[in-house]
Symmetry: C2
Subunit: 346 residues, 2 copies
């Protein structure tokens, strides 16, 4: 199977996407990989998978690579004597943050009829925006923590008790996130968050809350990762998370009761099915007094959370073979024909 | 100003989009129009605006037009001796239903940095799907009518009193919609709706409910249409709606109290700002006992609801000049540089 890795993007997480993409080479040893880079100015480049390394991008040398164009059915290389199709079986959307998680890549892949592993556009919009994730969870009967919501132009008023955590609604990887322990810290934390987004979500910060991550997908059956209890130093800052995105070594499963494991899996299923079909996602949960709360959905997790799975490479291929199909719509111009006929008779 | 009209699409409403597009020629008399057709198989064609008529499409003759490719910054015509940019100032997304209203066009225009008049992707997803519109309305403090929700695989159980109205969640123009007066009609109505969508929404059908439509946008100020009381024969079937999409003659404003008009405008503002900036939408409201309920959002209304505005052409140009800007993201490879430096020292 030939998998195209789409990475980069006009995103605050552009660099960690490069790290995720390079990690795939170590993880997908029995797969042909075609690397397609989306530059920060949103051009597509075909990157030689033999030569891929982080310096290729930071130095700007990637610009010497062949530029690609999207045509119906494929990426193509334009040349002097017509265009040449880039032969792939499926694209894996590995662009973290904007472009990858906000529905742009999924919209383009669907429009141009390129099979792709990624949340579809509805799923992207509802998981990329943390406010909409709250709506989604609520409608599916999955608990999530209490929240308040502020737009840049709103009065900066918080009614919740401190400490609180402030998050830009549309970003991942802890970018722009602050823990605020009292009113005196509020202004600065909001300034930081509003640097990155026009809207923020505010939640109570629960010291020492139990956090569990579960990744998975549905192929012909449910395929779940182990449940990980993420290491926390309050929360990972961006640089640590960045290093974390290159992970390819296995971690230990969290030591939890099987009844709690099942509860977490049931919450995952409610979120995933059917909205996220065709994607591998990670859901991060809090457990408070034995109740499971959705914290966040990671629609494109760092290095695809490969280190949480026993057989990541096999699973990726099974996902590729069980992608949701877009509904077929036949356009037959019957209304235009009938109007033309009516006019003809008049 | 040169406005590109994007129309067609892989949509059940492909044909009415053609009608909407042709109507623009009658309405936008002092504007240079560039017609870009999205065929049912999703290729872009540059259509000669002098020759545009419905037969060009129903006969398949459009395929002789020049095919276009999306490149960063523009649509281009590929030719033997390099590619030629199609010069436009702004694109108007006039694709009803799938592709136009589900975020595909907005995603592509944003990705390829082409200025466009249309709901952005978040706004598209929340208005194209009637279930998500309910979430949105609720979160904004706008009332909407009670509803139940069924997926194709769910048990076909309705707990609401009859008569009810069944709508596919993702379609406009009354496609697949039925009024069901009793349990004996339920199965057939659901069969019809599930022909078009995997999910349906069910609402009480209120005989003779007052319905009012308001279109508008925000440019440097609020620009509202007159409020229309749509003519109803229970509800318009597809063929009547289809004819309706070619409207360009003015209608009379509904005869309502100015206090109710203000209430309707206030509900519109709550929905529109800031999510729908950059677009002209129509909101359809019910009024029950002097309370305003959101019925539907029409993110790309038929013929852009031009017939409801005094100065549609002027407004379109003002919208084009007040489009929301995407946040600027600078990628400077600082993390990759710092890791490379750390490695160098090791």
């Amino acid at each position: 199977m030939n998998i195209a890795i789409l990475f980069g993007g006009s995103s605050f997480e552009h660099e960690i996407s490069i790290v995720s993409a390079i990690t795939m080479k170590k993880v997908l040893k029995n797969t042909v990989l075609t690397y397609i880079f989306v530059s920060a100015d949103r051009k597509f480049y075909l990157i030689d998978s033999e030569k891929i390394n982080s310096k290729l991008f930071s130095s700007g040398a990637y610009r010497k690579s062949k530029e690609l164009t999207l045509k119906q059915g494929a990426f193509v290389i334009d040349g002097m004597f017509g265009s040449k199709t880039v032969e792939i079986d499926v694209a894996l959307n590995l662009i973290h943050g904007r472009d990858g998680e906000d529905g742009k890549i999924s919209s383009m892949m669907e429009f141009f009829s390129i099979p792709f592993i990624s949340p579809r556009t509805e799923a992207s919009i509802l998981s990329y925006n943390k406010l909409y994730t709250k709506f989604l969870a609520e409608s599916l009967g999955v608990k999530s923590v209490a929240y308040e919501y502020l737009s840049k132009s709103d009065e900066r008023k918080v009614t919740m008790d401190y400490p609180i955590i402030i998050k830009p609604v549309r970003l991942g990887s802890s970018i722009g996130v602050s823990i605020v322990r009292g009113p005196s810290e509020l202004e600065y934390a909001l300034d930081v968050a509003f640097e990155f987004d026009s809207d923020v979500i505010i939640e109570p910060f629960v010291e020492g809350v139990k956090e569990y991550n579960l990744a998975g997908c549905f192929t012909s059956e449910w395929e779940f990762s182990i449940i990980e209890e993420p290491q926390k130093e309050i929360f990972l800052d961006f640089e640590k998370k960045y290093m974390d995105f290159s992970r390819d070594s296995k971690v230990l499963a969290a030591d939890i009761e099987s009844s709690l494991e099942r509860k977490i899996q049931e919450s995952f299923k409610k979120i995933y099915d059917p909205l996220f079909l065709g994607s591998i996602i990670r859901c991060d949960f809090f457990v408070i007094e034995d109740e499971v709360y959705l914290n966040e959905i990671n629609p494109i997790p760092g290095s695809m959370a490969n280190y949480l799975f026993d057989d990541f490479e096999g699973m990726l291929k099974r996902v590729a073979k069980s992608l949701p199909k877009e509904q077929k719509i036949t356009v037959n111009y019957q209304y235009i024909h009938s109007i033309q006929n009516a006019k003809g008779k008049a």
